[in-house]
């Protein structure tokens, strides 16, 4: 620890990414304490090897790649048994179609039809929108939240995600579909819909 170069000017810059990194770790580990632990380890590792950061990628991308390994490491430490159990659980989530019955009626029509959202692009500039977005992400069921985060926020390829999660591509798509439907409904209810904050 004594070798941690806290005087490095990049220390503050690295620290400024902490909230994002915690968000990432939480999305993958779903455990506040484990997430903090992973981020702490990743930041220490980053500080120790900051000289190897060539600046080719953004600092955040570099930090996230370090964190990714810490997260996988912690997941492994949590036990191979739990990983297998998780993969089985993810498959079960994909096979379960009951959640679709909540969204579509017997004839396959939307129970609550998607509305036209007014000027969604403008929301991207609003702080409050991001708070709602993040809350909606957190509400996605475990596997859906984790896989959506990897696919859409980190931009990982489906193949890599399938391998990490030990699930098939088609189950991965089903789960992503579920996440998108869930996120869409949550945003409409809490931001875009009639009477919601963003529609005012």
């Amino acid at each position: 620890m004594s070798t941690t170069p806290v005087t490095d000017p990049r220390f503050a810059e690295i620290e400024s990414h902490r909230p994002y990194l915690v968000r990432y770790a939480l999305s993958q580990l779903r455990d506040g304490q484990l997430a903090e632990e992973a981020v702490q380890e990743a930041l220490l590792a980053a500080l120790e090897s900051i000289s190897s950061f060539g600046g080719k990628s953004s600092l955040r991308t570099w930090l996230t790649s370090i964190l990714r390994f810490k997260v996988i490491d912690l997941q492994r430490r949590a036990g191979a048994e739990r990983q297998l159990f998780d993969a089985a659980q993810v498959d079960a989530v994909a096979d379960d179609e009951a959640w679709l019955d909540d969204l579509f009626d017997e004839t396959g029509h939307w129970r609550i039809p998607p509305q036209a959202w007014s000027d969604p692009e403008a929301c991207l500039e609003q702080r409050r929108f991001w708070e709602v977005f993040e809350r909606c992400l957190d509400r996605l069921p475990g596997a859906a939240g984790r896989i959506f985060f990897k696919r859409e926020i980190l931009g990982e390829e489906t193949d890599a995600i399938c391998k990490d999660e030990r699930i098939t591509a088609s189950n991965c798509w089903v789960i992503l579909h579920r996440a998108r439907l869930g996120l869409r409904a949550c945003l409409e209810k809490n931001w875009f819909g009639a009477g919601a904050e963003g529609a005012r």
Binding site: F104, H109, P113, A116, E152, L176
Partner: protein, 61 residues
Amino acid sequence: MPAKVNCREASRLLSVACERALEAGESEALQYHLGRCLMCRNFESQLKFLRKAAQRFSTED
């Protein structure tokens, strides 16, 4: 005449299209449905927005 799909199936195809190219039959059926269904067209634009927002989220603080 393309195969008929309902909203449940059309929404699934829209989501799958974010991951892989649709087969010709799937694509025709989807386009035929979208031409007649405003709700699914709304869903289609929302999917595009979600992807954009998610990418942007990674750079938000």
